[in-house]
Symmetry: C3
Subunit: 607 residues, 3 copies
C-alpha cells in the first residue's frame, strides 16, 4: 500500500477558519470552495495545518508493514496562484535574478508601450500582462513553487519513512505549474497518471493528438516515455483508465484485450506498476462517472476480468522484468519553457483560426508520431548526455540558451544525426527573439537560414531530386512553413506550391562526423514517417515496422532482451519474428512467424 | 381581460431606493439593472413593495366586469438566486430535512475530497460546488422558492378576486427554477407559453429538438402535453408566436395556414385559450423584434388575417369543444429532478464533445417523437394512477425513489406495457447512484442488468432474430449505449458492431399480466418509431399514422369524439377517414377520404 | 518624420501613482495594467500628465526641420469607458439633450418593463441595459469623448506646430468609440490604418469579408474609400501590412508583387503616403510577430525588396500624382449610428445562429462588392451634396432622421438613381422604429411597402419577366428577406420559393427625373454584381470589368487622367486598353492591349 497525504483536499472547517488560504486564480479573486486543490499552498496557515496532518498520518502508519511507500499530495500544480504574497515573492525573485530594474527592462524589452519600470514595486500583476517574457518568468516561478511544496512534503515524510519505503507524488504532466523534473528531483521515484482514449483511439491508424484524452496508439507511448524521462529511470503509473475516464459525458470502456495491451505497453516502457483509478466507481460526488475496476454494482464483471488477465500475465512473468531498460532509437529534446512560451503566444492556429494553445504538443507529437510509425523507440531528454542516441530530434525548442544550442551542434559534429524542427533556437532563455537569421546559433551548422515563416493549412510535399526520402502522396507540411534558404544544406523535400515552392520543406547537411537535418514545417504523418524511416532505417528492436503490429524492446537485468509485440487492431495479424525467441509467459519457443489475435500482445525474450 | 401583477419589472426608483434587492446570480455579485426579473423576490423589501402594488392594482379593478382572471407575475423562476439570506435559508432547510450533518455527509457522500461537514455553517456556497447531490438539493430548493412566491401572490389576489375569476401565472417550462406542478398547485388553472419554430420547423419530416425555438411538429405537441400535465387538466396558452419570436436576428413568420394549424393543435391538446405575444410589435426596447399580430406599421396585414381565420374557425365551433379531453395512448413519466441532475452532470455529449446540458430533453424527446410518428397521443405524468394507459414510458428517469420504481413495476405486473429508457432507476431520490446492477429495483422485472455504458456517435441497429420490430435501415442507437445482459428478457434489436454487438439495443419480457420493454440507447427517429408502432399498433385516434398527415383525437363533453387532422406539409394530402364523421365547422358529413390543402387542418366529430 | 504623442501608453509609475485612471470596461471593474490604452482618458489626473508630456515633447522638437507633422495618440476609441464620472457626464448630456425625464421616457420607450424614470439619477448604468435606444445614445456619447480628446491634443500641439506641419491621428475604423468624421474634423488630414489578408485574400475571386484581417480585393478598396470619406479628401495610410499582421498565429506574408499592387491601389484611391507597421519586427513584447519590413535578423530580405520596388515606382512617378482625385461611379451612404444599432441588436444571424454583430458591414459590403465586381468605383458619404453621383446606394441605413430620407428622395427626384438596401429608413435618429409601413418616408417614392421580414439562409433569385437584370444561376438573396409589396414599383428579380416567391427581391420605379431601385435582401455576389452592372453599365474608368484585372481611375492636377490596372491573380492576364495612353513610369506609349504579369500593376495616364 502506498500511503497518501491528504493535502490536496482542504476540509470545510479549515476553509471557514482561514478563508484567506483560498487560491486566487486572478488577482484578488478567491476561488470558491467546493472542489479540491483550490488552495494557495504557499500560505503559512495552510502549511501549518498541512504539516500537522502529514505528521499525524505518517507517524501513525510508517511502521506498518503494508506501507511500501508514500505519495505526497496529488497531481500538484493545478493553478497559477495570483495571491498577493505570491506575487510579492515573484517580484522578490525577479529582483534577486535580475538585480536591477534596468536589466529587467532590457531583458523583457519593456521600452515597448512605455512599460519600463523605475522601481520594482511598479511591476503590474500578471492579470493584464501581455509581455511574453514576463509570462515565461511567471510560469517558471509557478513551477518552482510546486516543486518546493512537494519537496517540503517529502522532507517531512522522510523524517518518518523507513529506508525501504519510497516517496513519490503522482504527476499530471499537463498541469500548468508542473516541472516534472524539478518536482521529482526531491522524490525517490517518479509517478505518472497516464490516461488514454480507449476503443478506436488505440487503433494503429488513428492520427490522434495529446488533447484530452490522448488518442492514437503513439500517444500512450509518448506519455510513457515522458514518464521515464522525468528521472531517466523506471516510474510508477499511479493512475490509468479502469473503465472510463471522466467527465460524465465521456464513457468509452476499452475493447476486450486493450487492458492487457496497455498494461504491457507501460511495463515495456519502464513502468514498475500499473494502478487503476480506481478500484470501484463512486456513487457520489464529482467523479461518479470516472469508472473503476468494479462498476457501481460493485460486482466484478468484464473490466475486472480484463484487469485480472493482465494480472495473471504479470504473475507468470514473475521478476523477469525487474531492471528492464527500454530501448531507444531516438531522443527528443523536451522543453517546458518552450511549451509555456507557445501557450502564451502560439505560432499555430487552431481549426477556428484562433490560437492553438497546444502548439508545442502539436509540433513535438508530429515528430514523435513519425518515429513511432517507423518502428523506432524514443526517449525524451531535457539535456544530459546525448551521445548514446543515433538520432536526436529538437522540434519546437523555441526557448533555448546558447549552451543548449551549442550542445546540439556538438552532438552532430561528434557523429550524431540531429534533426531540427520548427522554431528551434528562435528565442533565448528569456524568450527574447534572437536578432539573427534563424535558426540562430544553429544556422551555420544546419547549412541554412530563414527569415520568413507563414501559417498554412496544408501544403503537399514531394521529394527533391535525388532525395532518399520515400514520400507517399499524402506527405504534406501543415500549419507552419519556414522559408528555408540553403547555404550548404541539400533539399530533401520541397513544397508543391507556386509561392512556397521556392523553399525546401526538409534539408540535410553533413556536420563534422554527423549530420543535421532540418524539417521546416509540422510534418503530416506520412512526411514525418518518411523522414524517420530514412533517419532510422533499422530500429533497435530488430522488427520491421508494419501496421497494425508495433514492437518495442528492452534490455533485461540478466542480459537477455525482451520484445513486446502489440496488434493494435480488431483483426488478427501475423508478424515475422527475426530471432529465435521464447514466449515469456508460456516458455514456448517462437521463431519464423507469430500470429497475434485482435487487440493482442505477446512478450518474447531472447533464448 | 386577464389582469396581471407587475412584479416582474422593478421600477428604477425602487432599484435606487433598495439596491440590495438585486438578484445575485453568483454569491456577492449583484445583477446589473436594466432588464426585468433581475430581483431577489425573496427579499422583504421587495415583498413589501410588491404586496403594496398588487393590492393597489387588484383592489382597483377586481370588480370590473371585463376582468375574467388574474395572472400573477410572468414566467417566474428565471434565475437561481445566490443572495446571502437565500443561501442561509437553504442551509436551514437542509438542517430541517437531514437533521444533522452526519446524515448529510452520508447522503451526499461528502467523505470524498474531504468535504465532510462538522457544522452546518461549514457548507460552501453553490458557486464552487461540484457535488451533484448538493446541486440537486439546491435546484429543488430554488424551485420551491418560486412556487412559494407565486402562491404568496395568488393568496393576496384571492383576497379581492370574485369567485368567477381565476388566478394563474404564465409558465416558461424551461426556466431553471420552475417546478410547474408545484407552482400551479396554488393556482386555478395552468398557463403555458408555447413557442415554436414556424415555417419548415413545423414540417412533418423535421427531426427537430426542444432547443429554442422548439422545432419539429412533435415538439409543439410535446409542449402542449406538458402543459396539460401540470394540472392534468385544461390550460391556457398565454403566449405563442404571433409573427416571429425573438431575438432580433431570428425572424421566421409562419407560412400561410400555420396559425390555424397551431391554434387547432393546441386546442386539441387541451388549451382553453390561445393568446399571442403580442398584439402589435413594439417600437422600442428589447422586444422590438418579437413580432406581434400587427406589424410595426400597426396596419392589419397577413398575420392579422391568418389569426382572424383561426378566430372564425373557433367562432364556428362555438362551445362544442368545452370540456374537451385529449386522448392518450401512452404516458411519459416526467421527472424534473432527473432533468436537473442531467443539467449538472449530463450523460451525453454535444456535437463538440462537451456536455449536453439538454440531455434529459434529448432522451425524453427521442421517445416522444417515436410515438408521435407512430400516430399515438401522449400524456405526461409525474406519478399518479397509471392504470389508464396501455403504455407507460420511463426514459431518463435517473432520479427516482424506491416507491416510484416499484410503482412502475406494479403497473406492468397489473397488465401494462412499461417501456424503460436509458438511465432510468440509476440513482435514488438524493441523486446517489444505486450500488446494485442497473436498472436497480427494476432489473429483476425487466429481466436484465447492466454495469457498463458508453457514449457513441451512432450505431446501426437491426432486428434480432424473430423480433416483431420492423426496423428500417436508418434504425440506430445514438449517443448512449447500455450494455444490457439479458436474464429472462428477449432481445428485440441488436447493434451491428464488433464490440457493442454483444449487447441488445432493445429487449422485452413478460412481467405479470403485462410486459417490460427496455431501450438501452437514445433511439434514432426510425428506431423510436419502430418500437412505438410495435407497442402501440392501434392508436386510439383510429386513424393510421401517415406522414405528413397527423391526427389527434379527444372526447367531448357531450360524449361525441373529435378528430383533428393536420397536414403538416406544403403539398395537399389525402387521408382515409375510417369513421362516418362530420366537419365541426361546416356540418358537412365526411367519410371515405378527405383531402387536406397545404398546411391545412380539419376538425371532425362523430355523428 | 511624423512626431507622435505617447498618450496611448501609460507608464507604470503613473499607474501606481494614480490607479483610478484605469479604464473601467464595466462599471466598477478596472482593467488590469499591462497593455496600452487601458486608461480613462477623460480623467483629470490622466489629462494633467498627458498634457505635460505632450507639451514637453512637442515644444522640444517642433522646430526640427525633419518634423513634417504630428500624430496625436494612436488608434483611439478602443474601449467604451464605464468609469463613474464618465457615466455621470453621460446623464448630464442626456439631461441637456432631452430636457426632462418624460421626454426621455417617451423617446426611449421606457414604459416597457417599468423602466420609466422619475429622476435623472435613476438611470441604470449601461452594464445591464437592454434598451437599444439607450445604447445608441451611449455609443454616440462615447464617440464624442474620443473626438473631444483628440481635438484637445491637437489644440495643444497646434500651440507649437509650424504652419507647414500637419496634425493627424491614425484611425482604426473598427474601434467601438470611433466617429472618424468627428475625430478628423479637428485635424489637418485624416490617417487610416489599412490592413488586409494578403496572399489569396487578395485574389479577385475571393468573396472575403471585413472581418479581421479584411479579405477579398474589394475590401482593400472599401477601406481606402472609407479613409477618403473621412474628410472627402486625400489621407495618409499610417499603417499597413509589412510582412504579416498579428497575432502570433496569423502569418501570411504577401506573394511577390502584392506590395506594389497594394501600394498603388492605395495611392490610386487617394492615399498621400503608405507607411508600414513597422520598420523591423520586434524581439520582445506583444507585437513580436507583427512582421516588419525587416525580419528579426534585421537583414533586408524579400519584403524589403518588395517595398523597395514600390519605392522605385513612386520615385519614377515623381509628383505626377499630387492632387490626384479618385473617380467615383457610385456613392454609398455610410452610417455609424446604424452600425452601432446593429451591433446591439443585429438583424442577421451568424453561422451558428447567434447574432451577427457585424451585420452592418455584411450588408454594406454586399453592395460594395457588387459595384466593385462591375468595375465601378465608389465614394462613401455621410451626407453632403449627392448630385455629383450617378448612383447613390443606401443599404442598412437603419438609423436616419426625416431630413436624411427626404434628401435621398430628392436626389432621385432630381435625376439620380437611388438604390436602397435592407433596413434603410426603418428607425428614426433615436433608433425608434417608425410606426408606418417600411421603408417609412421612402415608401411612396420607392413605390412599395413592407411589413414582414424574415431571416433565411439563402434563396435563389431569378429575373422577373422583362427584367433588364442578367442573373446567373448563383444569384441569391441571403440572410434577410423583406416582404416587398409593389405599389408602383416594377419587380426586377423574384425569389424562387413557394412562400417567399410572392415577394420580389429587387424592384425599380421612376421617381421624378430619376429612379429608385430597391434590393430587399443581402444580395449574393452574383446578384449584387448584376444589379450594379445594370445600374452602372459604363463605369467612368472606361475599362471593361473583367476578372482578374480591375482598373481604377483618377483625375490628376494637370487635367490628365490616370488609370491603375491591377491583375489580382497568380497568372498573367491581358486587358484591352480603350485609350491611347502612356505608361506613367516608363513613358512608353500604350494602346490596344496590355499584358500584366502575375500580381502585377501598371499605371497609365492619358497622353
Amino acid at each position: 500500500m502506498v500511503l497518501g497525504t491528504p493535502t490536496y483536499a482542504v476540509p470545510p472547517w479549515l476553509q471557514r477558519k482561514v478563508p484567506e488560504i483560498a487560491a486566487e486564480t486572478a488577482t484578488g479573486r478567491r476561488m470558491p470552495w467546493g472542489a479540491r486543490q483550490e488552495v494557495d499552498f504557499n500560505h503559512p496557515a495552510y502549511l501549518f495545518h498541512a504539516e500537522r496532518v502529514i505528521r499525524r498520518v505518517v507517524s501513525r502508519y510508517a511502521s506498518h508493514p503494508a506501507v511500501v511507500g508514500y505519495q505526497v499530495d496529488n497531481e500538484p500544480g493545478l493553478y497559477l496562484l495570483h495571491n498577493g504574497h505570491v506575487f510579492a515573492r515573484f517580484v522578490e525573485e525577479l529582483r534577486a535574478e535580475y538585480g536591477d530594474v534596468d536589466t529587467l527592462n532590457d531583458r523583457w524589452g519593456l521600452t515597448h508601450w512605455s512599460h519600463r519600470l523605475a522601481r520594482w514595486d511598479e511591476l503590474w500583476p500578471p492579470d493584464g500582462n501581455l509581455v511574453p517574457q514576463y509570462d515565461l518568468a511567471w510560469r517558471r516561478f509557478q513551477a518552482r513553487l510546486t516543486a518546493e511544496f512537494i519537496g517540503w512534503q517529502a522532507g517531512i515524510v522522510r523524517e518518518y519513512a523507513r529506508t525501504d519505503q519510497f516517496v513519490t507524488t503522482c504527476i499530471d504532466y499537463a498541469r500548468p505549474a508542473m516541472d516534472d523534473e524539478a518536482v521529482a528531483a526531491g522524490l525517490d521515484i517518479a509517478s505518472a497518471n497516464i490516461y488514454y482514449a480507449a476503443q478506436d483511439g488505440l487503433a494503429a491508424g488513428t492520427e490522434g493528438s495529446l488533447d484530452w484524452p490522448p488518442s492514437g496508439t503513439w500517444s500512450l507511448y509518448y506519455n510513457a516515455d515522458r514518464a521515464w524521462s522525468t528521472r531517466q529511470a523506471p516510474y510508477l503509473v499511479t493512475e490509468t483508465n479502469a473503465t472510463s475516464v471522466g467527465p460524465a459525458w465521456l464513457n468509452q470502456p476499452g475493447y476486450d484485450g486493450q487492458w492487457r495491451q496497455v498494461g504491457w505497453a507501460l511495463a515495456a516502457r519502464g513502468a514498475r506498476s500499473v494502478q487503476y483509478w480506481h478500484w470501484h466507481t463512486l456513487h457520489h460526488g464529482p467523479e461518479a462517472y470516472w469508472g473503476g475496476i468494479l462498476p457501481h454494482s460493485l460486482v466484478p464483471g468484464r473490466v475486472y476480468e480484463q484487469v485480472a488477465a493482465l494480472g495473471r500475465d504479470l504473475a507468470a512473468a514473475g521478476d523477469a522484468l525487474d531492471g528492464l531498460r527500454p530501448d531507444a532509437d531516438v531522443a527528443f529534446v523536451h522543453s517546458l519553457p518552450s511549451k509555456w512560451a507557445f501557450e502564451f503566444a502560439p505560432p499555430l492556429s487552431g481549426v477556428d483560426g484562433g490560437p492553438d494553445r497546444a502548439a508545442y504538443e502539436r509540433i513535438t507529437s508530429a515528430s514523435y508520431r513519425g518515429w513511432w510509425a517507423a518502428g523506432a523507440q524514443a526517449r525524451f531528454v531535457h539535456g544530459g548526455d546525448l551521445s548514446a542516441y543515433p538520432v536526436v530530434v529538437a522540434a519546437g525548442l523555441y526557448v533555448a540558451d546558447d549552451a543548449t544550442l551549442d550542445k546540439l551542434r556538438d552532438y552532430a559534429v561528434a557523429g550524431g544525426h540531429l534533426v531540427l524542427g520548427p522554431r528551434t533556437g528562435y528565442a533565448d532563455s528569456d524568450g527574447r527573439i534572437r536578432a539573427v537569421a534563424a535558426p540562430g546559433r544553429l544556422a551555420e551548422a544546419a547549412g541554412l537560414t530563414y527569415d520568413e515563416y507563414a501559417n498554412v493549412a496544408a501544403l503537399p510535399v514531394r521529394a527533391a531530386e535525388g532525395s532518399p526520402l520515400a514520400l507517399p502522396p499524402d506527405a504534406a507540411g501543415r500549419a507552419w512553413v519556414e522559408g528555408l534558404r540553403c547555404a550548404g544544406a541539400t533539399p530533401l523535400a520541397v513544397y508543391d506550391h507556386p509561392h512556397y515552392g521556392r523553399w525546401p520543406a526538409v534539408t540535410t547537411v553533413a556536420c563534422g562526423a554527423g549530420r543535421i537535418t532540418y524539417v521546416g514545417t509540422v510534418p503530416s504523418p506520412a512526411l514525418a514517417e518518411a523522414v524517420a524511416r530514412w533517419a532510422t532505417p533499422a530500429p533497435v528492436s530488430g522488427f520491421p515496422a508494419t501496421d497494425p503490429v508495433h514492437v518495442t524492446s528492452a534490455g533485461l537485468a540478466d542480459g537477455r532482451r525482451a520484445w513486446f509485440l502489440h496488434n493494435w487492431s480488431a483483426s488478427a495479424a501475423t508478424v515475422p519474428v527475426p530471432f529465435d525467441a521464447v514466449d515469456l509467459l508460456t516458455g514456448e519457443p517462437i521463431s519464423g512467424e507469430l500470429e497475434l489475435g485482435e487487440w493482442d500482445v505477446r512478450v518474447l525474450t531472447s533464448r
